[in-house]
């Protein structure tokens, strides 16, 4: 059920290869696959739509379809876009006030209590004087849970078991912290639903009463489509400073992270993995790259993409691109492109991705797919002829046919198709990257 994005793209690209032609249908199908993959990773429906649009624009801008390996370039673009959306830099907490108060909030069962202890442990290890405060007065044994966690990491826990007013407990804890030289206060609160008006009012009141320097919204990484609604509601009420993603030691794809980031534009600051509060690797600073990879379920696929791109001579490629842009594509380039392709192996698959090639091959009807006649023809041209094919008149054609062991008819075909190819490239350039094929309008 969970096909990886690269698998999906492969499938889409196969259709493309099969048709040997790049059309609006192909690119649309590819974008649909990307969007489906994102939604399967729990990226919100609307957000997936937006992201796919951005990817589409980027793909058009970078002329994916004239790339030798459009599928892989596309995966790369998708990854880059996800990274960008996730926010490139890591965001620090604001702990400047004295004492600095960190308020934790989120849905029931999202992992607030466990994470509070992990954060306390992390700060304690930095030599800070930390205090944990138990403000979940509702869930049975929640206070005791925090106490046990506090003990495990050697951090004091402030609680008032008889007091049922979390606002008062929070306020009292700050007073207590000042008297007892605690510099950072982490306040654990009860889980609450965004639609629970009374509880949302309560968290807003806690905020007003204690003016925390940092509010963290804790969210289960397995959350589905509702993540956007919840994040938005909490943000509207308490204007939180950052997000914590928990339970990432599971195998969830974590698309909720992307959705939340997109809807509230607050940085994801920490990730939480594992249940043990005193294991140093159960707590981490958020890394956009790893979550982007996770959402795509790519693992090392990206690395493979890079290797493949390296194999394809970068310099040659750039030279070719420049020439393509300047409408200077000539038989020399054609020849070197054929050499490049041969280096990469698996000719039949790749060849149809080169603009014009698919069609050409069909007409030439090379059964066992040999590039030899084409190569031979080009090799029999003089350097001048390769640079400037217009020079090739009737007698030159005869000479070339003789030299390459082909017929004048074959030489004619190649030249004709080469010119068509140039025309197409020119059209592509004229459209200034807006569309791939000017006469079709791929994106309505």
């Amino acid at each position: 059920m969970f096909k990886t994005l690269s698998n999906r793209l492969d499938k889409a690209m196969k259709t493309l290869k099969g048709q040997g032609r790049i059309t609006d249908v192909n690119i649309a199908a590819t974008m649909k696959e990307i969007r489906k993959a994102l939604m399967e990773a729990d990226v919100n429906y609307k957000v997936a739509k937006e992201i796919t649009d951005k990817i589409k624009d980027e793909a058009i801008g970078r002329k994916v379809m004239i790339d030798v390996k459009p599928g892989e370039l596309l995966v790369k673009i998708v990854h880059e876009q996800l990274m960008q959306l996730m926010g490139g830099t890591t965001a620090e907490m604001n702990l400047r006030s004295d004492p600095a108060v960190i308020l934790m909030t989120g849905l029931q069962g999202s992992g607030k209590t466990t994470f509070s202890a992990k954060l306390a442990n992390y700060l304690k290890k930095q030599g800070r004087q930390v205090l944990l405060v138990a403000c979940d007065v509702y869930r049975p044994a929640a206070i005791e849970q925090l106490k046990v966690n506090g003990q495990a990491i050697g951090v004091e826990v402030y609680s008032e078991p008889e007091n049922k007013n979390p606002i008062a407990i929070a306020q009292n804890s700050i007073k207590w912290a000042k008297e007892n030289n605690k510099k950072i206060i982490i306040i654990d609160t009860a889980g609450r639903l965004a639609v629970d008006e009374a509880m949302m009012t309560e968290i807003a009141q806690i905020k007003t009463a204690i003016q925390p320097s940092e509010i963290l919204f804790v969210v289960d990484a397995m959350t589905g489509q509702d993540a956007v609604n919840t994040a938005k509601s909490f943000n509207d009420r308490v204007n939180f400073d950052g997000v914590v993603l928990t339970k990432l030691d599971g195998d969830t794809r974590g698309g909720a992270a992307l959705s939340i980031r997109n809807v509230v534009e607050k940085p994801i600051k920490f990730i939480s993995t594992g249940e043990k509060v005193n294991e140093p690797n159960s707590f981490d600073i958020f890394n956009p790259d790893s979550i982007a990879r996770r959402i795509l379920n790519m693992g090392d696929v990206l690395k493979l993409v890079e290797i493949a791109q390296d194999a394809f001579d970068q310099q040659e490629m750039e030279k070719l691109n420049k020439k393509l842009r300047k409408n200077e594509f000539d038989f020399n380039d054609f020849y070197s492109q054929i050499q490049q392709i041969k280096k990469m192996g698996n000719l039949k698959d790749i060849i149809s991705m080169i603009p014009g090639m698919g069609k050409m091959l069909k007409e030439v009807e090379i059964d066992d797919f040999s590039l030899t006649p084409i190569e031979a023809i080009i090799q029999s041209m003089t350097p001048k002829e390769r640079n400037n094919p217009i020079l090739i008149d009737g007698s030159r054609k005869k000479r070339i046919a003789n030299g390459s062991g082909t017929s004048v008819q074959q030489v004619n075909n190649l030249i004709k198709q080469f010119q068509e190819m140039r025309k197409m490239i020119k059209k592509m350039n004229d459209s200034k990257g807006k569309r791939f094929l000017p006469n079709i309008n791929p994106f309505r």
């Binding site: 029931q108 044994a141 289960d220 509702d226 993540a227 599971g250 195998d251």
Partner: protein
């Protein structure tokens, strides 16, 4: 097929507006979309796709539903939104495995199994302990003798949490404290159930992510040890799923089924805005019925699952 045809109408609406739109009533949207039409077109499928995906139904199941609707409509033709709505509900309901209960409106226990042993499993924080407390209370209220087993000996204060629920429900809790062998606790609870002629024994277990092999295997062990006290137990293995979980719930169902045969599902936290649509595909794929839904944190906030009501709420907005 016009599914996921998002290239067709690129309405440049802001995300926020879009989200608001999601909250609109599906029925009214469908009504608008099909006004004056006699067949299901792109626009209707788009609306359908949106409502199902945003309810966590998932891509595969959404496609399946849409295919079924298309097939049905080709055969039956519909006249108005009401009829399409009805067809839609029927098709989704048909995907959800039925419970074998005599009276699906009442909490009940099979007559001839005593004690009826229920083992409750799931990932961390989904609401296992809370659901057990609520269930215990329901059974207690219909005059059944209930025993609870505090098998979560791992998470801080988990035993204390279940004990509070036991007190609230007015039923005994068998426990051996924290960091003890959960299988031994389960054995003890079943044994106590037999000795005291209880009607039902419900065993809590620690939350575990399905990726932790050793913890997953521990469940098989607990099950085996329970069988030493009562060979045909557990009679029910209840997998608790958090209603706000997305597509990972499918993986949870698959993996938990591998180590203990899951016989029923409970979906919690449906008092929020999440729709829990992922259970449709799960019930369909693994043929497991959904028995209970959690709709709050109070002891009475547990309901018997109704396929029709669930599907109706999926298609209607809550806010």
């Amino acid at each position: 097929m016009g599914i996921f045809g998002f290239f067709n109408k690129e309405k440049k609406e802001s995300l926020e507006k879009g989200l608001e739109k999601t909250n609109q009533n599906f029925f009214s949207k469908i009504s608008k979309a099909i006004a004056g039409k006699s067949k299901v077109d792109e626009e209707i499928l788009d609306e359908l796709e949106e409502i199902l995906i945003t309810s966590d139904v998932g891509v595969e199941t959404t496609l399946k539903i849409i295919e079924r609707i298309e097939a049905r409509v080709k055969k039956d033709k519909y006249l108005n939104a009401q009829e399409l709505n009805k067809i839609l509900k029927e098709e989704i309901v048909a995907l959800i495995t039925e419970t074998q209960q005599n009276d699906p409106t009442q909490f009940e226990l099979p007559a001839h199994t005593k004690p009826y042993v229920i083992m409750v499993v799931g990932v961390n924080g989904v609401g296992k302990t809370t659901t057990i407390g609520k269930l215990a209370s329901q059974f207690h209220q219909i005059g059944k003798k209930v025993v609870l087993g505090a098998g979560d000996t791992f998470r801080a204060a988990a035993v204390a949490q279940l004990k509070v629920w036991g007190e609230r429900a007015g039923v005994p809790v068998i426990e051996k404290g924290m960091n003890t062998d959960p299988a031994a606790v389960a054995f003890e609870a079943v044994k106590t159930g037999i000795d005291t002629q209880a009607d039902v024994v419900i065993i809590d277990t620690a939350g575990r992510l399905q990726t932790k092999t050793h913890l997953m295997n521990e469940l098989s062990k607990i099950k085996r040890v329970i069988q030493k006290a009562m060979p045909d137990a557990p009679h029910e293995v209840l997998l608790v799923l958090d209603g706000s979980t997305g597509q990972n719930a499918v993986v949870q169902a698959r993996e938990f089924t591998k180590v203990t045969e899951i016989t029923a599902l409970a979906v919690t936290k449906l008092d929020g805005t999440a729709k829990g649509g992922v259970v449709i595909g799960i019930s369909d794929e693994f043929k497991i019925p959904v028995k209970y839904i959690g709709v709050g944190e109070k002891i009475e906030d547990l309901q018997i699952f109704h396929r029709e009501a669930f599907v109706a709420s999926l298609l209607e907005s809550k806010s």
